[in-house]
């Protein structure tokens, strides 16, 4: 009896130990990947800052400036770009994202508007497939592999759809990397573009006349896709960092739990062993007395 249970416990300890090895490895991998993801964001930042600055300057340099991209129009169909992970085992990361997006979507569909999505990440594609929501493109299954070039492709596609009035609003669902322990899902509007007046630099002193060629609007419309891709890329990097952060935390907790389980199990193992020895002695003594 005691022997069999001892064997059982030993087997369980072994299996928990190997699980712990996996969770520990995943934790370490997530930490190192996180560092690289952060570096990636830093490198691309100046580029997008410059684009953003130019866009704001154009928007405020002329009083009668107008572009399809900033004009609000009644929304008949909205598009959501949703960034989620490729794998589970990241705590509530994927679920929180979908919950936030679905809340947003049901608000729109409640008013009789159409909705389509452009999912990034395997989990996102699977999720919207199950919900039978129209999917714009399935080319971006693996969130971790989506490069900046892919972001430009996505932005080009979205800008084209928006200009041809197939969609009237574009939202981006991503997860904000607040800190190692907190990640917050967010849904923000990308198109039509919105500007904060405070962000525009107030002209100080006489301003040099800038030539926009061929025209303000043409330049503006040409670089808007670049700006959008910057937003997508930013959101993507944040999301990837969040996923890794969430996974790290989840795996850290799992490793700790595994450690506790092993401790508990070894205690039980030792008790069982001791019990077995005691029983054996009792049996021998009883046998000798008889």
């Amino acid at each position: 009896m005691a022997g069999a249970s001892m064997k059982d416990i030993k087997l369980r300890i072994k299996s928990v130990e190997s699980t712990m090895q996996i969770t520990k490895a995943m934790e370490l991998v997530a930490s190192s990947k996180l560092r690289r993801a952060k570096e990636r964001v830093e490198r691309s930042r100046p580029y997008f800052n410059l684009i953003h600055q130019t866009l704001t300057e154009i928007a405020y340099s002329t009083t009668e400036f107008n572009s399809d991209f900033i004009l609000e129009r009644p929304v008949k169909k909205a598009c959501y770009i949703v960034i989620a992970g490729d794998r589970g085992l990241a705590g509530g990361y994927n679920n929180n994202m979908f919950k936030a997006v679905m809340a947003h979507i049901s608000e729109l569909t409640g008013d009789g508007r159409e909705v389509c999505v452009l999912p990034i990440g395997k989990k996102a594609v699977e999720f919207f497939d199950r919900r039978k929501i129209e999917i714009l493109s399935r080319n971006y299954m693996i969130a971790e592999d989506v490069s900046i070039r892919n972001c430009f492709e996505i932005a080009g596609l979205i800008a084209e759809e928006f200009r041809s009035r197939k969609i009237d609003a574009v939202y981006l669902g991503y997860t904000n990397f607040v800190s190692m322990l907190t990640q917050e899902p967010a849904v923000v509007r990308m198109l039509p573009l919105k500007y904060n007046r405070s962000e525009a630099k107030e002209p100080t002193g006489p301003k040099a006349l800038t030539i926009y060629e061929p025209s303000c609007e043409a330049v503006y419309d040409a670089i808007v896709p670049e700006y959008i891709s910057g937003m997508i890329y930013g959101g993507l990097c944040e999301s990837v960092a969040s996923e890794l952060g969430a996974r790290r935390t989840a795996m850290d907790a799992a490793s700790k739990n595994a450690g506790e389980m092993i401790e508990d199990l070894s205690l039980r193992y030792n008790r069982a062993r001791q019990g077995a020895i005691t029983q054996e002695i009792t049996e021998i003594v009883a046998g000798a007395e008889a």
């Binding site: 691309s44 580029y47 900046i148 430009f152 060629e213 061929p214």
Partner: protein
Amino acid sequence: MTTFQLQIVTPDGLLFEGEAERLVARTIDGDVCILARHTEYVTALGMGQARVTIDGKVRKAACIGGMLSVSGGRVRIVATTFEWAEEIDLERAQRARERAEERLKQQKDTREIQLAEAKLKRALVRLNASR
């Protein structure tokens, strides 16, 4: 020749910073040439070859998307893709071209066609620039 300060920024970081004599780039409105003491100027970049003259030597590059600005005598290329001719992976571009052409033949979906066309254009620009 008089030089001007040139800065080339891409999403991969700062690619070049220094003095240049002449810059020719393909904008959405055709080729432009920028020399020193150019007036304040902003335009969007198209897809094509860019030529930068540094110390009397011409360097070619593939330059796609983004913008070109001149402000206060400083010239900035903010491009989505900027690759010096000698750094272009010819084989990869050739493969990308074949793949895109293949896709164009098969696809019927307009969105997929758009994507394939964009890929083909980029591959062609790279191949042209490295020649």
